[in-house]
C-alpha cells in the first residue's frame, strides 16, 4: 500500500501566498462547533467499528532518550499483535521511533504490515541548520524508514519567514522522494487558530503527505480544535489542488472516548474516505491499551484491567 505522492502535490510559492493571505478564524465559533461534534453518542456496532479503526490507525510511539533495541522489540511485538487473546483486533499502522532505532524496528516488523516511521529534522525543536536536518532525514531513510515525521521550523514561522519554512519542507520532501512525509506543526506552540491554519496550508503546499499536530514532547499536545482546523485546511487544499492529504494527531490522546471524538470530527468534516490509516493516524502509546479494554468490554460486557494486555 503506497502512501506516497510524488511532487504533484505541491503548490508554487505565489499560489501558497494566496492561500495563506487573509486567513480568518473565529475562535469562539470554532470551539462551539468542536464542542457540538463531541456530543455525538457512539454506541454498539458503530463503537466497535470506531475502536477497530483506532487500533489500525495508531502509530505506536516511543521517543525517549532511554530507548534501546530491547524496548523496540517489545513495542513492535505489541504493534503487530496488540491483543493476543483476540486475533480480530488488527495490527497498528506503524511504529514511530528515533532514527537510531529504525533498523531494529525494521527488522522486527519485516514480515508484517506494520510500517516504521522515524522522526527527523532535529525533532522535537527543529532548531538546527537545514543541512543537519537533511542529513538526519537521509540517515533514517537509509536505515529503512517507510515514513518520516519532520517538524516545521517554528523559529522561521514566528520570525515571519514563511518562505524559509516552506523551502525547508520542499527540501526535505526531496530527500524523502517516495517515502511518506508527515509534517509536525506543534500546535501547542502555534497557539492561535490562524497560526495553525497557516502552518497547515504552508506544509501542505510544500508537499507534505500528512500534517501532524504535535511532537508529544511539550505539555500542550494535540487538541480537537487543532484537528478540526487541520481538517479544514486539508479540505480547502483538496478543493484547490485535488490532492487528498492526511492528518495525524499526537500528544495527549489518552483514552478511547477522546479518540472517538477525533474520528467524529474527521468523519463529519472530511468524510468516510479519511477513516483509513492512509489518511488518519493517532500517535499514541497508552491509547491502544484503553482501546483494547473497550473492545473487550463490548465483547464480554465487563470492565477490564490493563494487566490482561501485553506491555509494549
Amino acid at each position: 500500500m503506497s502512501l506516497t505522492k510524488e511532487s504533484q502535490n505541491t503548490l508554487n510559492w505565489s499560489s501558497t501566498v494566496e492561500l495563506i493571505d487573509n486567513l480568518r478564524v473565529d475562535e469562539v465559533g470554532l470551539k462551539e462547533r468542536v464542542a457540538s461534534l463531541a456530543t455525538r453518542s457512539i454506541k454498539k456496532d458503530s463503537k466497535l467499528q470506531a475502536l477497530n479503526y483506532i487500533v489500525s490507525m495508531c502509530d505506536l510511539t516511543t521517543l525517549e532518550g532511554e530507548d534501546t533495541e530491547g524496548k523496540i522489540g517489545q513495542m513492535t511485538a505489541k504493534a503487530i499483535r496488540p491483543d493476543p487473546s483476540n486475533l480480530e483486533v488488527p495490527s497498528v499502522a506503524a511504529v514511530c521511533v528515533y532514527p537510531a532505532l529504525v533498523s531494529k524496528a525494521k527488522e522486527m516488523t519485516l514480515n508484517s504490515d506494520v510500517k516504521v516511521a522515524s522522526v527527523s529534522s532535529y525533532f522535537p525543536s527543529g532548531q538546527a541548520p537545514l543541512e543537519s536536518k537533511i542529513l538526519d532525514t537521509q540517515f533514517a531513510i537509509d536505515q529503512g524508514a517507510d515514513e518520516i515525521d519532520i517538524v516545521i521550523n517554528r523559529k522561521a514561522f514566528f520570525e515571519g519567514d514563511y518562505r524559509k519554512m516552506y523551502d525547508e519542507i520542499i527540501a526535505l520532501k526531496e530527500v524523502c522522494k517516495s517515502v511518506h512525509l508527515k509534517t509536525i506543526l506543534e500546535v501547542g506552540e502555534l497557539r492561535t487558530y490562524e497560526n495553525i491554519k497557516k502552518a497547515s496550508l504552508i506544509s501542505l503546499a510544500a508537499g507534505s503527505d500528512f500534517i501532524k499536530t504535535s511532537t508529544g514532547k511539550i505539555s500542550n499536545g494535540s487538541s480537537r480544535e487543532a484537528c478540526y482546523l487541520m481538517a479544514k485546511a486539508v479540505w480547502d487544499y483538496k478543493t484547490v489542488t485535488g490532492f487528498k492529504a492526511g492528518i495525524k494527531v499526537a500528544g495527549g490522546i489518552r483514552d478511547s472516548k477522546d479518540a472517538i471524538r477525533y474520528l467524529v470530527i474527521v468523519n463529519e468534516e472530511l468524510g468516510g474516505e479519511w477513516l483509513h490509516p492512509d489518511y488518519f493516524r493517532f500517535g499514541a502509546s497508552s491509547l491502544v491499551d484503553d482501546v483494547l479494554k473497550q473492545i473487550k468490554k463490548l465483547k464480554t460486557n465487563a470492565y477490564q484491567s490493563s494487566y490482561y494486555f501485553p506491555r509494549g
Binding site: R24, V28, G29, R33, K44, S46, G272, E273
Partner: protein, 479 residues
C-alpha cells in the same frame, strides 16, 4: 466507499410519566376544567397520542382570574426575599428534573433531545436563577422607586420552545410581584403541566401560578378578561395584531414577541467556516421553528459560490430523525399544519424561479418531516424572501456594497434579529447602528442569556424579555 454509520443512541422515555388526561392548574392544585372539551396532544415524530388535555373555556378563565386574585393578595404581602426563595427553589427543582423535562419536551414538540437537554433545559433553569435574584433588588434595578407590578398577568406562549418560553414569561413576572395565568400552546402543553407540579412541590402560594390549557378560543377568552392588567404574548404577528386591537379599549400593559425574517449578512471578509456554522445554526436550529431564525442569507456576491458550496456540504451532514436519538440534529416539524405551510411556501419558491437544494436523507414514514432546504438564485421580491416560513428553509440573496446589505436586510416589516459576519470590528459596529433589529448577533447567532434583553423592532413586536430591561415588561410606573 468507506462509511461509518452511527448506531441509534436513544434516550429512554421511561423517565417520563404522562397522565392519560389533564385538567387545569388553579388555586395551587390540579382541577377538572369546567369546559368538558378535550383535545389530543400527539408526538409529531410518530403521530402517537400522548394525552388528552382540557380546552379551557370562559368559565375556566374566570376561575383562573379569581384564583389569581387570591394569589395576589398573598404574593403582594411577601417580601422580595421571600419571592426570591420560591424562585430559587423552582430553579433547583428544574435542574434536578432536567432530564425528565427534556425528554418530555422532545416527545411533545419534536425537537431533538440534544437541543432540549443541552439548550432548552439549562436556559430554563438559568432564567429562574437569574430572575430569582431580581426579586429582592427591584428598588435598585432602575434607580427609581416608582415602579410597581401590574397585578394579574395573562401570558400566552408558543409551541417552538414551550418550557423555555414559560420560563421567559413566568420567572420575571413572579419576581416582580405579579401573579400569572399562563396559556401554553395547543400542541405542546405537557412540560407546562409538569412545571405546575413543581409549583405545588415548592409550596408556591395558591393562585400565584395558574395554568389553563386549550386552543385559540382559550387564549381569546384570556385576552378578553377585563381583570387582566397585563398581557404578554409570543407567537405570530397576525395574532399579535389581533391582541393589540382587541385590547384597544383597555389601559393594560402589553408586550408582544412576534415573527421575524432575519437577515444573516455574510461579508467577504468573514471567517468563512465559522460563518457557515453560524448560518446553518441560524436556520436549522430547532428545525427553523425560531422567531429570530436567520432565514435570509444576505451574501456578498464575490464569495457566493465558495460559500454556497461549503454551506451545502455542511448541510449534508445534518442528521434528520427520531428526536429521542441523541445523534439527531433536526427533529420533526411540530404539526401537520406547519408542515403544509412550509411545503406550500417552498413549492411557491420553486415556481417563482428559485433554485432549490435539499439534503439527501431518509425520512421516517410516520410523523411530520422536512428536509433542510436552501434556495439560491432568489430575488428579494420572492415570497420565500419575504414571508416567514418557520421551517428549515434558507433563502439566499446577494449584495455588493455594505449599504446594499443594510437596505436589503431592513427591507421587511419584521425587525427581530440580524446577523453580521465580518472580521472587521468597525464594520460590525457601523452595521449594528443601521440594522433595524432588536437583537444583533455579530460573528455568532442564536445566543441567548437570561441577562440579555430580547425583543423586536417594527412588526416583530414590542417590549423586551430578559435582563434589566426585561423587568420593565412587568413593572409599571405608579400613577
Amino acid at each position: 466507499m468507506n462509511t461509518w454509520e452511527y448506531a441509534e443512541s436513544i434516550e429512554s422515555s421511561s423517565i417520563v410519566n404522562i397522565e392519560k388526561k389533564y385538567g387545569i392548574f388553579i388555586d395551587g392544585k390540579f382541577q377538572t376544567a369546567k369546559s368538558k372539551k378535550f383535545i389530543k396532544t400527539i408526538s409529531p415524530s410518530t403521530e402517537e397520542v400522548l394525552s388528552s388535555i382540557s380546552v379551557g373555556n370562559k368559565s375556566d378563565i374566570n376561575s383562573a382570574v379569581d384564583s389569581a386574585k387570591s394569589g395576589l393578595k398573598i404574593w403582594s404581602k411577601l417580601s422580595g426575599t421571600e419571592r426570591a426563595k420560591y424562585l430559587f427553589k423552582l430553579a433547583r427543582l428544574i435542574q434536578e428534573r432536567s432530564r425528565e423535562f427534556a425528554v418530555l419536551e422532545s416527545l411533545d414538540g419534536g425537537k431533538p433531545i440534544k437541543e432540549s437537554r443541552d439548550f432548552d433545559l439549562p436556559q430554563v433553569a438559568a432564567n429562574f436563577f437569574y430572575f430569582a435574584g431580581w426579586a429582592d433588588k427591584l428598588d435598585i434595578s432602575w434607580n427609581t422607586k416608582g415602579l410597581k407590578p401590574y397585578g394579574i398577568v395573562g401570558q400566552i406562549i408558543p409551541w417552538n420552545f414551550p418550557l423555555l418560553m414559560l420560563s421567559w414569561k413566568v420567572a420575571p413576572a413572579l419576581a416582580t410581584g405579579n401573579v400569572v395565568i399562563l396559556k401554553p400552546a395547543e400542541s405542546t402543553p405537557l412540560t407546562a403541566l409538569l412545571f405546575a407540579e413543581l409549583c405545588e412541590e415548592v409550596g408556591l402560594p395558591p393562585g400565584v401560578f395558574n395554568l389553563v390549557t386549550g386552543d385559540g378560543t382559550t387564549g381569546a377568552a384570556l385576552v378578553q378578561h377585563p381583570d387582566i392588567s397585563k398581557i404578554a404574548f409570543t407567537g405570530s404577528t397576525a395574532v399579535g395584531k389581533y391582541i393589540q386591537k382587541e385590547t384597544a379599549d383597555r389601559d393594560i400593559g402589553l408586550t408582544l414577541e412576534l415573527g421575524g425574517k432575519a437577515a444573516n449578512i455574510v461579508f467577504n471578509d468573514a471567517a468563512i467556516d465559522q460563518a457557515v456554522e453560524g448560518v446553518v445554526n441560524g436556520i436549522f436550529f430547532n428545525q427553523g421553528h425560531v422567531c429570530c431564525a436567520g432565514s435570509r442569507l444576505v451574501l456578498q456576491e464575490d464569495i457566493h459560490d465558495e460559500f454556497v458550496s461549503k454551506l451545502e456540504k455542511r448541510m449534508q451532514s445534518l442528521r434528520v430523525g427520531n428526536p429521542l436519538d441523541k445523534n439527531t440534529d433536526i427533529g420533526a416539524i411540530n404539526s401537520k399544519e406547519q408542515l403544509n405551510k412550509i411545503t406550500s411556501l417552498v413549492d411557491e419558491g420553486v415556481a417563482e424561479g428559485g433554485s432549490i437544494f435539499q439534503t439527501e436523507c431518509d425520512l421516517p414514514s410516520n410523523g411530520f418531516w422536512f428536509k433542510p432546504t436552501l434556495f439560491t438564485n432568489a430575488q428579494p421580491s420572492y415570497k420565500i424572501a419575504r414571508e416567514e416560513i418557520f421551517g428549515p428553509v434558507l433563502t439566499t440573496l446577494t449584495f455588493r456594497t455594505p449599504e446594499e446589505a443594510i437596505e436589503i436586510s431592513n427591507n421587511t416589516e419584521y425587525g427581530l434579529s440580524a446577523g453580521i459576519w465580518t472580521e472587521k470590528g468597525s464594520k460590525i459596529l457601523w452595521a449594528a447602528d443601521r440594522l433595524q433589529a432588536g437583537v444583533i448577533w455579530a460573528n455568532t447567532f442564536n445566543k441567548f442569556d437570561p441577562s440579555s434583553p430580547f425583543g423586536g423592532y417594527k412588526e416583530s413586536g414590542f417590549g423586551r424579555e430578559g435582563g434589566r430591561h426585561g423587568l420593565l415588561s412587568y413593572l409599571k410606573v405608579q400613577s
